[in-house]
Symmetry: C2
Subunit: 311 residues, 2 copies
């Protein structure tokens, strides 16, 4: 099943203890599509500026990603500059330039309209909702958001949550969205806002899947926790969460899982999410996702099983 | 196989968002022995003051724990006062009174000398070493420590580490001990100090077992990660780490595992550690461990498997 993703395609300048990169290709939709492209067909909706050239386009093309929905606008692409010098797990933002993204009006190519899966990456919830409503035929919708939208654009975000099958956010965002510092209680409160499933990303500690159907007091029975890889060298965690989402949703959309979205399929999707997130951290920007084989993904999946399974 | 544990038996005054308890029974050796007692015979070495009476003694006796090594001294027992009001995962210490613990000289009852397993709970490494050397016959030695000993008593601690089979500490302690902020690199450095295995406790995110034999660059293949329980109500996390250690080491010492300490036994021990740590959090102090059945433990073990296993 094909996935359409709407989100940012950007340039990032990144500094970590491992070094610095200037203006490398980034953005949530970029990481998501590269990760998901190992599992299924991916189509991107985004806007870029005149600085987005053949070199960047080629990164998508090399993975067979449909870029007809990437609009070229006059001006510069979205730009983010951040560092992870004090804490490798938490970005410090030095600069954000919205540029062409400030006036982004998502346009959906006709060729995308038969997509069965839709991913709403972290953008203005007003835009997320527009895209969702413009693609009523999709079978499964997942999305991401961030503290800024949770705090200052809550009504619009709540409208989006009503139409989501799966929300993928981190611990802090979950607790902020629920106004509750206990993760399990917060997860339950978020599920009551609409999503049928919630994936809480714990960074280096993995991620937990909560299902909306979980009866009160039996949280563990209906939850599933995937580990993260204990990594010897975290070069750059930028995009790890988006790569998790790409691996997770890409696997769900893949022919192996899409016909019947069982609990077992969700569990394996969580593992593939962690696998793709772990690869993303191993080099700067999208470098590792660009140089990755399906065999490496499957081998790491097996490692994750050995890391967590009793037998 | 019987376990001898040396450590603190204390009184704790605890405040959490769920309420406050004054001078409840606490101490690392207390939590450890209660947790381990569900798996094997446990013998305690500690010192208490005149405030330790029949009521406290009965808590140990009810679980069949050998208290002949708990020395009564003139004065008051070790006392700790702390709260978890801002962050349920991190204690804020308001008061520590060593009292009789300040002059603690561990005395090993003859009846303890055939113990095959020894646990050195978090006390002065000089004392840990004394007990270790006084019990040369033990087959397996595990231990704990804390930031204070790592920072200010490093030479004595390093001597203890040389003689340990298993060290159980948390993320912060691991990184501090190694002087390295990457967990995998830090774990490798700690293993180079002597322990054959290292269990890093991640609080609400579970724990990771690292084996000393792990070849460089293949960290995940020889690591094992147990989840923590996503708990709806964390009443009081005091003693969760010691209860983890008790479940972990208790299972290893149990007849099911002790004859052959396979990798599979270590994995199950990690799960039992997480299981006991999760129970400890459910009520104040040792209340939950006192009111616990082996069936509840086994049921939660199954929940942990469902929480983490693909099939």
């Amino acid at each position: 099943m094909a996935i359409t993703v709407v989100g940012s395609v950007a340039f990032d300048s990144i500094e970590t203890p491992a070094g610095r990169r200037e203006r490398c290709l980034g953005g949530a939709a970029t990481y998501f599509s590269l990760a998901a492209s190992f599992f299924t067909d991916v189509r991107v909706i985004a806007v870029v500026g005149e600085d987005f050239g053949l070199e960047q386009e080629a990164v998508f093309r090399a993975r067979g990603i449909d870029t007809r929905g990437i609009e070229r606008a006059a001006g510069k692409s979205f730009f983010w500059e951040g560092s992870y010098l004090d804490n490798i797990n938490e970005a410090r933002t030095h600069n954000t330039e919205l540029n062409v993204f400030a006036a982004f009006e998502p346009k959906i190519p006709d060729a995308y309209r038969d997509s069965d899966f839709l991913f709403l990456a972290n953008i203005d919830p007003v835009l997320q909702r527009q895209v969702r409503e413009a693609m009523p035929q999709v079978r499964l919708v997942a999305g991401d958001t961030m503290n800024y939208w949770i705090k200052d654009h809550r009504p619009a975000l709540l409208e989006v949550l009503k139409g989501l099958n799966i929300l993928l956010i981190n611990d802090t965002e979950t607790k902020m969205l629920a106004g509750n510092s206990n993760l399990v209680q917060a997860a339950r409160a978020v599920l009551a806002l609409g999503p049928k499933a919630l994936v809480v990303k714990h960074g280096e500690y993995g991620a937990t899947l909560f299902h909306g159907s979980s009866p009160k007091g039996e949280s563990a029975g209906s939850a599933f926790r995937a580990p993260a890889m204990p990594l010897e060298d975290v070069v750059d965690p930028t995009g790890a969460g988006d790569s998790f989402a790409g691996g997770f949703f890409g696997y769900l959309a893949s022919s192996a899982a899409a016909d019947e979205l069982t609990s077992a399929a969700f569990r394996r999707a969580m593992f593939y999410g962690s696998v793709m997130g772990s690869f993303a951290c191993e080099r700067f920007g999208t470098e590792r996702l660009q140089q990755l084989s399906r065999k490496e993904i499957d081998d790491r999946f097996i490692l994750f099983r050995e890391l967590t399974h009793l037998d």
